[in-house]
Amino acid sequence: MFRIASLTGQFCRMSLAPPIQVHLQNRSTSFFSKVTAEHLWKGVTSVSNAGRKRGRASGSSRKMARDLNRGQVLGVGKINMVWPGLSAPAIRGQEIIRQQKLEPDPEREKRLTALRNKHVGVRRTKIAPLDRGWSGGKAGGRYIGPPDPVGDENFEGFKSCVVKMGMVFVMRGNTGRTRQHKSIVIVGNGNGLIGFAQGKAGDARSALRKAKNGAAKNLVYIERFENHTVLHDFYTEYGSCKLIVKKKQRGYGLVCQRVVRELCKVIGIKDIFVKADARRMNTLSVIRAFLLGLHNQRSLQSVADEKRLHVVEFREEYGYFPKVVASPKDEPVRTAEEINPNEELDFNMIINGGRLVMMPKKKTPFYWNLPGYQIYLKKTDPLKNHRTTHLRILKRYGALKSFLTIREEEEQKQASLKSS
């Protein structure tokens, strides 16, 4: 009551009432006097045995105790007092020091809070949004720098990407359930070289290091078309993973499954379309299927040699001018009479071994066939060029006008001139 009165001042002075007498029970012993401070702290900050088994005492879910007594000194408090023998010596020279109230120190509270909030232990490093990988806090899709140097080789220009990171467990009779971190890392120089490896270790960092350095030891070279796409369309499979790979023009980009995309990035493929038919997506199978397909690509020269004919390239941007890209090396070119009329001469058929993949039909939204959507289309059809027309009119007249409104304005102006 007093507190309220003092805060509100004279306006509440009338409400001051005599204090109510309450009887308080007094005990000589209590919970606080029986148990030591150490025990009390432990009870608050420790984890129970059951909790420890469930993993509450380790990892990111562990709760760290914060020492609220940090920075506190006996004899120093909110009121800045000199206590001889406690916070100050009792005698200084010949003089006996007396209790004394000093000027209040406003900075003390701030210093204490800063000290208390100062972080102790390991802090998570923040990763830039573009370097965070495929999703959330997972390691998949993250780039972890070049492999460690081997002898004179420094792996300059190489980059490695984590494509799989997880934990594996093993149950043994004598050791019980033990766990390990397992990672798959791909390494490449963005200019045709590619390697991949798995790494297993007790901690995640070692697993990544093992996989990365292992991948750097197993590099293969992949041929590319004009350093930007695959040599030709192909179909490839490994295990349950089936990939339909399409060669694409410059500027198309990487339109493919995420593991394949990272593979393309480290190989240096810039434009590709891949349709992945994998009901159970196994990372290793995807990597193996794609690399196998790339490895089995045929060169144009081999086709020319096999068929003993010129391979001629036609490109729209060059006006379909015929360009001979490969001619039979050792043997002469066949004439029309030497070619069997039933012989397969379609380039794509030859390069795919007489088998062409039929692409699955693109699905259309279900509502395209509903009558409501047709009505919507009919209604919005006259509005489809509104924006361009709007802009054109704005550019021409400086405002939303047409020749009709301008004619009316002119007529009105002339009429007003006549009347005046």
Binding site: H310, V312, E313, F314, R315, R334, T335
Partner: protein, 335 residues
């Protein structure tokens, strides 16, 4: 017939000064050469169709396949491959050559068109019935645009043929060409045109003029001639070589007798035969010129060039020097 009669468009137009060239402030970027307006001194249309002239223009244009089939500014595509025998490859090259010839067809050289508003009928009874003109356009299929019937009923009751500008507007309204804009693009007017030409975008300007205008439109003639002048001034003939615009440009330079820069460029790039061909063209265009009397059919290329330098050229010293250095090179090569 009933279908044709029914398929008629009805469209009210603004008064003529707005309907015609869209923006009354715009004017073509150049005054036309009189030979491109009337037949008084020569007939450029007939000259252009003359077999010898066309032969010379083709020769001057040249055919550099690397240029004709150079990388185009368009979306990239995935290359396609074919397996071919020697014979088939030869045929493919022949086909490409034909396509190259097709791309090098020259846009027609024509005189400025004469007004075509002939009065068909006068109906004074209809005077004042309407405030605005009515334009009737026959939009039935199968009629060439230039002979498509388009007539105008004036508010004073006169029924007349539509003017060229009205025709252009109605044709673009009903039979739209996507590459043509309904209003003259500002890039064909000064100061934009000079700015673009200074950048050297000659082919862009000439191609767009072909798409935008009819070949006998005053604007087409003015824009192309302005561009040819600029090319000649900068001696940037190499930019338009092996394109469809080189022939009409040479003819223009011959008509206006402004071929010194071209001759200099031809001689410095060791094209003596081409230089002689240009002099022949000049003689076909101006048979009365002094140098035409100096040479005949049997004269050599050198004689033609020398006659030009002696009697026609304004830049005699420079041309003489170029011819001299050409001769020196030939001698050094034969020695």
């Amino acid at each position: 017939m009933a279908g044709r009669a029914c398929a008629r468009g009805l469209f009210g137009l603004r008064p003529l000064h707005n309907a015609s060239r869209n923006m009354s402030t715009l004017s073509p970027p150049k005054k036309l050469d009189p030979n491109y307006v009337s037949t008084e001194s020569m007939d450029v249309e007939r000259l252009f169709l003359h077999a010898d002239v066309r032969k010379i223009l083709k020769k001057l244009t040249g055919m550099d396949l690397n240029r004709i089939f150079a990388l185009r500014k368009q979306e990239n595509s995935v290359p396609s491959y074919k397996l071919m025998t020697d014979e088939e490859l030869k045929q493919a090259y022949a086909k490409a050559l034909k396509r190259a010839e097709f791309t090098l067809r020259m846009p027609p050289v024509m005189r400025k068109r004469v007004p075509c508003e002939a009065i068909i009928r006068k109906d004074p009874g209809m005077q004042g019935a309407e405030k605005h003109k009515f334009v009737f356009t026959d939009i039935s299929y199968g009629i060439p645009d230039r002979s498509r019937p388009i007539v105008v009923r004036e508010p004073n009751g006169v029924l007349r043929n539509a003017s060229w500008e009205e025709r252009d507007q109605m044709l673009q309204t009903y039979l739209t060409r996507p590459e043509r804009e309904s209003r003259t693009p500002p890039m064909f007017t000064e100061p934009h045109l000079t700015r673009i030409l200074d950048k050297g975008w000659y082919i862009f300007v000439l191609d767009r003029a072909c798409a935008q205008f009819e070949p006998d439109d005053e604007w087409f003639i003015a824009v192309t001639h302005r561009t040819y002048d600029h090319i000649s001034e900068k001696s940037a003939f190499d930019v338009v070589r092996s394109t469809r615009h080189f022939g009409p440009m040479c003819l223009y330079l011959a008509v206006v007798k402004n071929g010194d820069k071209l001759m200099l460029e031809l001689l410095t790039t060791n094209r003596l035969e081409d230089a002689a061909a240009f002099v022949r063209l000049l003689h076909l265009v101006h048979p009365e010129s002094r140098s035409a009397g100096e040479v005949d059919e049997k004269s050599s290329a050198m004689d033609f060039v020398e006659a030009y330098i002696k009697l026609e050229a304004q830049m005699k010293a420079k041309l003489d020097l170029a011819l001299q250095s050409y001769n020196d090179q030939v001698q050094a090569a034969t020695a």
